[in-house]
């Protein structure tokens, strides 16, 4: 399971960084979204992976660390708001600048 989670985080983050470095706003927004998925999974794993245990300290020998879950919840909410904002801003910049290049310039030979 550790390998699977690690691979998932790695793939999400790698794809996110790649897309973030693209020159069009749409891939950049997708990249930011993938990055935030990656970081949410990562935060979830920081409490160590435990299966089938309650997220409360109840005297049982083993429990799931509840704090990372709270952190992930906060991060999801903030990430959601930020994604909505950056989508609106991308639309606005497409509107104002006339194209969807991140520098607002349509350079020749610049593949979309």
């Amino acid at each position: 399971m550790e390998v699977m989670i690690a691979l998932a985080i790695g793939t999400l983050t790698g794809c996110g960084v790649y897309l973030l470095l693209r020159a069009r706003t749409f891939p950049v927004v997708l990249g930011l979204t993938l990055l935030s998925y990656g970081v949410n999974l990562f935060l979830f794993a920081t409490g160590r992976l435990v299966i089938g245990q309650p997220p409360v300290i109840s005297g049982a020998a083993s429990y799931t660390d509840p704090l990372p879950q709270a952190l992930v919840l906060t991060a999801i909410v903030i990430g959601f708001a930020m994604t909505a904002f950056v989508i609106m801003l991308s639309l606005r910049s497409r509107d104002v600048l006339g194209n969807d290049h991140v520098d607002g310039a349509n350079q020749a030979g610049d593949a979309p």
Partner: protein
């Protein structure tokens, strides 16, 4: 009352912001008055907080009265109170300047402004790493709105870069916080400092990676090399009062570096001690060097001021890298550099409104109205920002250099940067004020005549610019007490044990 003092600078702008939003369709003058009252109340709270902690006590505010490592705490020590006071003083004059009509160019200017202050105060006062992230997000989302306030192509382009850079930065912050939690098992700053000294050897790699990722995030906020590229365009492109308020945002990055450098990775941190040490001085000096090149190359006053902010950030970081004496010098230089940066942004805008064709670019233009007055103010600001005597910049730079005996590189870079800044500002001043060109009558003005006349008539601009100059003068005249306070702050920072025992040990 004292019991709740630590949360007052956070609650006041929050309440004002929510009120402004809830009351909705208030007319602009009413909104301005509300914002002004809130600003004055915040200054009052910040002064009271500073007086309460200046003796060396720390006010620890436990939200919900949960004991420290589990509940969330706010901690007001000398450093936090100092930063909050600087923020509130700066905000007041930026707010007064915004009253010249800039706040009416879009909706919710005052709401966003108060929310930004809410985030700033929270970030300075929080004693919890994850809460630092949350307050960063609050001030960032307010700053996105403010940076884009008024619209326009250049502002949108610079704003998009600014937003995407900071969103990526927030993700890295989460990775860093997650790594540190995984390695140390806590997010409370005092608890982290305590646990850093008992770190298991097999967790060392995780903790070091988390710590250095934190440095990268704070370096992005402070706009240190090589993460500085967004700043000149974003600050030069946005409206003047917003750029003036943003002058404190780079200092927030510096504050976060200073806090984690002294508290988390200080002397007592065992195997994590001095984690930032090899990075700070090279980063500081290269930032100053590259930013100085930008100062020389800038073709308008807004962009020039943006690069001067970078120079001041580098200078501050050099102070932090020099140890306790340097930190004290840096803490004295910090308000000075914040106020002068804000002053320059406001002046750039005031000049832009008065030069009819070329704005604040260094191109000869028709003689502006009241050129002697604005030229004189620009001269005073230039003296302050380059650190020439007699203003406080000289005292601050002198103290930083005095803290660096036998370090020729620090002396060379800081002094050379000051010289080049003097040259660039002298050129800027002569182009803006002396080199008046004959303007042909048939060339259309950039501004409509009515707007130009209104711009000249505005006394709020003079009031705000004069207020900031008065703050710089006060910092010069009362340099003695200010330096004493800065040194006491540096001493307090050098002793993380007092912070840890104030937060974790003892009284409910």
């Amino acid at each position: 009352m004292t019991a709740h003092l630590a949360i007052a600078p956070i609650l006041l702008p929050f309440i004002a912001g929510v009120l402004l939003l809830a009351l909705g369709r208030l007319s602009l003058p009413v909104q301005r008055w509300l914002a002004l009252i809130s600003g004055l109340a915040q200054i009052g709270a910040a002064v009271a907080l500073l007086l309460a902690v200046s003796g060396g006590d720390m006010l620890v505010y436990r939200l919900g009265d949960w004991p420290a490592p589990w509940g969330i705490v706010l901690v007001a020590d000398r450093l936090a109170a100092w930063m909050v006071l600087i923020t509130t003083l700066l905000a007041l004059w930026a707010l007064i300047y915004a009253g010249n009509g800039i706040d009416g160019q879009g909706r919710h200017f005052h709401v966003l402004f108060q929310m930004q202050l809410f985030g700033l105060a929270g970030a300075f006062l929080t004693g919890d790493l994850f809460n630092l992230f949350v307050f960063f997000e609050i001030l960032l989302i307010a700053s996105y709105g403010l940076a884009l306030h008024g619209g326009g192509a250049q502002r949108t382009r610079a704003g998009l870069h600014y937003v995407v850079m900071n969103l990526a930065g927030s993700t890295v912050f989460l990775f860093a916080a997650g790594l540190i939690y995984a390695a140390l098992g806590s997010l409370n700053l005092a608890d982290l400092a305590l646990k850093a000294s008992q770190l298991a050897p097999d967790q060392l790699g995780l903790a070091r990676a988390g710590g250095l990722l934190l440095l990268a995030v704070f370096a992005l906020k402070a706009a240190l090399l090589p993460l500085h590229l967004w700043l000149p365009a974003a600050y030069g492109g946005t409206s003047a009062p917003v750029a003036a308020l943003f002058a404190i945002m780079t200092k927030l990055g510096i504050y976060a570096i200073l806090r984690s450098h002294t508290l988390l990775f200080g002397e007592g941190a065992g195997s994590l001690a001095h984690l930032f040490d090899p990075w700070l001085m090279p980063l500081a000096l290269t930032t100053i060097a590259i930013a100085t090149l930008g100062v020389l190359a800038a073709d308008n006053l807004g962009r020039l001021s943006g690069y001067l902010v970078l120079v001041s950030v580098g200078t501050l970081l050099a102070g932090i890298a020099l140890g306790s004496q340097g930190i004290a010098a840096g803490l004295y230089y910090l308000p000075h550099s914040t106020f002068t940066a804000a002053l320059l942004f406001l002046l750039a805008d005031a000049i832009k409104r008065r030069r009819l064709q070329h704005g604040d670019t260094f191109t000869p233009d028709a003689d502006m109205a009241h050129h002697a007055l604005w030229g004189g103010l620009f001269f005073a600001a230039a003296v302050a920002v380059t650190g020439l005597p007699p203003l406080s910049g000289f005292v601050g730079k002198f103290l930083i250099l005095r803290a660096a005996p036998g370090q020729p590189w620090v002396w060379t870079v800081i002094l050379l940067a000051a010289l080049l800044a003097v040259i660039a500002l002298a050129r800027a001043g002569s182009e803006l004020f002396f080199n008046a060109a004959q303007v042909r009558a048939d060339t259309p003005s950039l501004l409509p005549a009515s707007q130009a006349a209104q711009a000249i008539a505005s006394g709020r601009e003079l009031l705000a610019v004069g207020g900031l100059l008065a703050l710089i003068l006060a910092l010069t005249v009362f340099a003695g007490p200010a330096v004493d306070y800065a040194q006491a702050t540096a001493q307090q920072l050098a002793d993380p044990a007092s912070y840890i025992s104030a937060v974790l040990g003892g009284k409910p």
